[in-house]
């Protein structure tokens, strides 16, 4: 248990360091929120009440986080496969999932930069400062948000290990996740049958916790609980999938490209 935790924390720090030196990824986290926030601005030009403002800024920031997590996780894993690191990670006597989880967590954490750009940019764009009603709860909510994005990314990563071209699928999931978790537009606007699906998307609860902490009209704590619980389920499911997919990669010899 201690070792597992150490492996995740150290691995997370290592990948955070490695990937935060990647100019392309930095570009994604800093620029995507600008694009999304601009889109949101034109979508909701009419309603300029506080709630819309907060939702739009948070949403654009979280979209940035999720974009980074999917595209970067796929490209990071692809690169590690090409340069032979993936093999070295498998060859090490640490359960493989403990070496993959830190990658997606680090990328989700790197995405927090976009929270800053998102908030600042929306403030400038709408010309109204975003006020956070419950700063403590807001800061705390960022962590389960990262966790949920990281674990959702991990679930996809299990597929990357087995299916080399699944990075495309990763990109395809960029949009559904934004929509389902209410980052782009409020879930209430979507068809009714969408809402139950969104309950199973962990970032929905993270988004909702952040919004409530920012607006201060409901308690974010039960959302945080749901977010963590779902993340744990994702982790378990991802771990199980990864086991199967890794075995299949060892059978098919697709772990390395050379």
């Amino acid at each position: 248990m201690r070792r597992a935790l150490r492996a995740v924390v150290l691995g997370g720090a290592l990948h955070f360091k490695q990937e935060s030196r990647n100019p392309f990824f930095l570009w994604i986290v800093i620029c995507t929120p600008l694009v999304y926030a601009t889109m949101a601005y034109f979508l909701f030009r009419g309603g300029q009440d506080d709630a819309t403002l907060v939702t739009a800024s948070l949403g654009s920031a979280l979209m940035g986080i999720w974009s980074l997590t999917t595209t970067a996780a796929a490209s990071t894993l692809g690169r590690q496969r090409r340069v032979g690191i993936l093999e070295l990670l498998v060859a090490a006597p640490t359960p493989f999932w403990l070496t993959i989880v830190p990658i997606t967590l680090a990328l989700a954490a790197l995405g927090v930069y976009s929270l800053a750009t998102g908030l600042i940019y929306v403030t400038v764009l709408f010309g109204v400062p975003v006020t956070i009603a419950n700063p403590f709860a807001f800061c705390v909510s960022v962590l389960p948000m990262i966790l949920s994005m990281g674990m959702l990314g991990f679930l996809f990563c299990a597929a990357f290990v087995r299916f080399r071209s699944s990075w495309m699928v990763g990109n395809l999931f960029e949009f559904p996740v934004w929509t389902l978790s209410g980052m782009l537009i409020p879930i209430a606007v979507l068809p009714v049958w969408v809402e139950p699906i969104s309950w199973f998307v962990a970032p929905t609860w993270g988004m909702s916790a952040l919004r409530e902490a920012a607006l201060g009209n409901a308690s974010p704590w039960d959302d945080i609980g749901m977010c963590i619980a779902l993340s744990v389920v994702y982790a378990a499911a991802g771990g199980a999938l990864l086991r199967v997919f890794l075995r299949s990669a060892l059978r098919r010899g697709t772990l390395a490209l050379s």
Binding site: L10, A92, P93, T94, G253
Partner: protein
């Protein structure tokens, strides 16, 4: 004593696809029935041409590839059924400049793998320093790997493979692309690993390296072992017959064919050397082809002629060029 590494009739096929629009699936038989045993403290060499299946064999032994058929044991345990157990006890180093976190320092790279290999946190710092000293990277460990030279990367790989002080080591072309002085140092290091009692499986394309380092060698060609023995035995297997080297200036293919047809000649190879070429003619025991060779080179401008005892490289060339006959 039970062998430390055991390969039992290992087979491995890869499925690949060809073509862009009309995709056809293709089966490559990379390894087709490889068996060998390596005893404790032995340094065993795997030689063979490109694509012979050496890396594939190693990957099956280090649990990165599941054999299509056959089995393998390391330290007495099956590599498929006890993968984790085996991983804890083996080190793997491959040649080339890949396999490192480029944007991180050597220290960060080693630190992470120390953690993954379960080196006790309290011991990590001392162990890393020890290894950096051993591979001669001390003082450069805080620089990013992307700025490292080929040789420095290779040293870093070796340090990584030794982190957990494994009793069994797999070195896949560890001196690939390292300069002569660096390669000599690496060989000294490999030889000291053997002195420390480690069991080592080594692949290389440098014959003198295999000759000086290995206790025993297996020559692999097209997925099969075509010869196995000590370097001396391998040399002897093509030996007694001598090797004639003739320096020539411009030789046609049909002249080479004429040499091949000389009675007792087992292999003829042509190598460029400086501004000339050298024709190397190997003969079976009891044959002295020098006279006949010169006679058949009539019309070709000939330089120095020498006759010598076969080297491991000669043995290797003879074995590998013979290989189609053994299929």
């Amino acid at each position: 004593m039970a062998p430390v590494i055991e390969a039992l009739d290992l087979h491995r096929t890869y499925k690949t696809t060809t073509g862009t629009f009309r995709r056809r699936s293709l089966e490559v038989e990379a390894v087709r029935g490889v068996s060998f045993e390596i005893g404790e403290g032995e340094l065993f060499g795997l030689l063979g041409p490109n694509g012979a299946g050496k890396t594939t064999t190693i990957k099956m032994l280090i649990t990165l590839l599941i054999p299509t058929a056959g089995s393998a044991r390391v330290l007495g345990r099956d590599v498929v059924d006890h993968a984790m157990w085996v991983r804890q006890r083996i080190g793997y180093v491959f040649g080339g400049d890949r396999g490192l976190y480029e944007r991180l320092s050597a220290w960060d790279n080693l630190r992470y793998f120390a953690e993954l290999y379960g080196v006790e946190p309290r011991r990590q710092k001392a162990r890393l320093e020890e290894l950096l000293d051993l591979v001669g990277l001390r003082g450069r460990e805080r620089e990013r790997v992307e700025g490292y030279s080929r040789g420095m990367r290779q040293r870093l790989h070796i340090a990584r493979g030794l982190l957990h002080d494994p009793p069994v080591l797999f070195l896949d072309e560890p001196t690939l692309g390292v300069d002569p002085v660096g390669a000599r140092e690496l060989r000294a290091m490999i030889s000291s690993l053997k002195d420390a009692g480690k069991t080592v499986l080594l692949t290389t394309h440098y014959m003198f390296e295999a000759d000086t380092l290995c206790d025993r060698i297996a020559v692999v060609a097209r997925g099969r072992i075509v010869a196995e023995g000590t370097p001396r035995e391998l040399k002897a297997s093509v030996a007694s017959g001598s090797v004639v080297e003739v320096e020539v200036y411009g030789i046609e293919d049909d002249a080479v064919e004429r040499l091949r047809s000389i009675e007792g000649v087992t292999a003829v190879t042509v190598e460029p050397r400086d501004h000339a070429q050298v024709v190397i003619v190997q003969a079976a025991p009891g044959h002295e082809p020098a006279q006949e060779v010169l006679a058949r080179l009539d019309g070709v401008s000939v330089g120095r002629v020498s006759s010598r005892e076969p080297t491991l490289e000669d043995a290797y060339v003879a074995l590998v060029t013979d290989a189609p006959a053994t299929q």
